[in-house]
């Protein structure tokens, strides 16, 4: 979707403000927000792609105004409601009012080291051979789906070169919407700055994305 999250090339946000000796967290609630988000992910009820899409759907004015951990909390609240773990009334009150969906698993403290060390690998085998090879010129599709995609707007309908075939991975555009993992080949595609930004582009710039096969057409 062309949401507020798709920030590449947008203007007006001012300078980057690196913070010297930045702490891991700026408030206690941020720690809990991180832990709650990861714990809820462990339910096995939604995918990382669905959780990204939940954040993308936060209205633009809010998305751009709030802190990143607040985006996470808003996203996880959406998912908890959507999947029947909590009602809006429960979220407002902080009190249990009814039973909800049963999770596939609850992340207990003793499970944390193994769960974090394992992560959630997204590589999957595919039956077909890759359509494109390193060195080939490709063009990205021009599309504007209302659903989740990992092809940024600035990189649509652009011609680039396949630099590497990276393996086959879960296709987020489907996986975010419960349509299955449908893995595809993934390619690193490199674009000249001028191909993306046109007049006035930094001549020393190249930008690469990781593009799923269905994003690409042969030139």
């Amino acid at each position: 979707m062309n949401g507020p999250h798709d920030l590449g090339g947008q203007m007006g946000f001012g300078p980057v403000a690196p913070e010297k000796d930045e702490p891991s967290f700026h408030a206690e609630w941020e720690k809990r927000a991180l832990g709650i988000t990861l714990s809820c992910g462990a339910f096995g009820a939604w995918t990382i792609d669905e959780s990204r899409h939940a954040r993308e759907n936060i209205p633009p004015a809010a998305y751009l105004a709030v802190s990143y951990y607040e985006l996470w909390i808003r996203g996880v609240e959406t998912l908890l409601k959507r999947h029947g773990f909590a009602t809006g009334e429960e979220l407002l009150s902080g009190r249990k009012l009814q039973d909800g969906t049963a999770p596939k698993r609850v992340l207990k403290a003793e499970m944390v080291p193994a769960a974090l060390a394992k992560g959630g690998p997204c590589d999957r085998p595919v039956e077909t051979a890759p359509l494109f090879a390193a060195g080939e010129r490709v063009k990205t599709k021009n599309f504007n789906p209302a659903t989740h995609t990992r092809l940024p707007r600035y990189a649509r309908a652009r011609t680039g070169v396949v630099e590497a075939v990276q393996g086959s991975f879960v296709f987020p555009d489907d996986n975010a919407h419960g349509k299955g993992e449908n893995p595809q080949w993934l390619y690193t595609v490199v674009f000249d700055g001028a191909e993306i930004w046109g007049e006035g582009a930094d001549p020393s710039l190249t930008v690469s994305i990781d593009a799923w096969e269905s994003y690409l057409e042969r030139v």
Binding site: G35, L92, L205
Partner: protein, 213 residues
């Protein structure tokens, strides 16, 4: 609420303070609810936080870089299969499942961003800093990387090529900075001390030994 709104609009810009009480209450309510429902274990949250506060952070990545500088075979492995090479040092896991190492050279400087969200190699760098997740960096890194680097105090020669890696999939990128001159005698532990988090994102270069305290 009136007091809150008034406070919210004041001109001092202490946004963290302003959001703090609201978010503290909201997150507390959420944790209480989910705990009461048996869906989460507050001790698991403590364990997650402790992991990223004390165990997983940029010192992991700095060890990878120092080894790559010291051991040509390891550097070669890192180029071919970064996930396995990094795992051999014990660094695996969430948001580092599929690693790629990108090497700065005399010709090319690498810079990593995630324009769509905040993808970042947690297993070697820990949790991303706020600026990495914020709109200013995510919007400009791909169109004006030199302007962004200048805000980090880094000015690259005009002829240096800049390659920006937009982390749009599950691949997580670790920049291997160039080894500073005059470090031939240093061992891996000392070399790791020259490698900042920002140098492994690409918003800095590795420090020279003269810069050490």
């Amino acid at each position: 609420m009136h007091d809150h709104d008034h406070h919210h609009n004041h001109a001092h810009g202490h946004e963290h303070d302003n959001h703090y009480s609201d978010m503290q209450a909201r997150v507390k309510a959420l944790e209480t609810l989910l705990t009461e429902k048996g869906l989460i274990d507050p001790a698991a949250i403590d364990a997650i936080v402790e992991t990223y506060e004390t165990k997983v952070g940029p010192r992991n990545g700095a060890q990878v870089v120092a080894k790559a500088w010291s051991d040509a075979d390891f550097a070669d492995w890192l180029k071919r299969d970064a996930t396995a090479a990094i795992a051999s040092l014990g660094f695996t896991g969430r948001q580092g499942e599929h690693m790629r190492a990108v090497f700065n050279t005399a010709e090319t400087h690498n810079l990593v961003v995630c324009t769509l969200c905040s993808c970042y190699p947690w297993s070697v760098l820990g949790l991303p800093p706020v600026w990495y997740k914020a709109p200013a960096y995510r919007s400009r890194a791909v169109i004006d990387p030199r302007g962004v680097l200048a805000e980090f105090g880094l000015t690259l020669p005009e002829e240096k090529k800049i390659r920006v890696w937009d982390s749009t999939a599950e691949l997580r990128y670790l920049v291997i900075p160039e080894r500073p001159a005059g470090t031939e005698e240093m061992d891996e532990a000392a070399l790791a001390g020259l490698v900042s988090r920002d140098a492994m994102i690409g918003t800095a270069i590795a420090g020279s030994p003269e810069a050490l305290p």
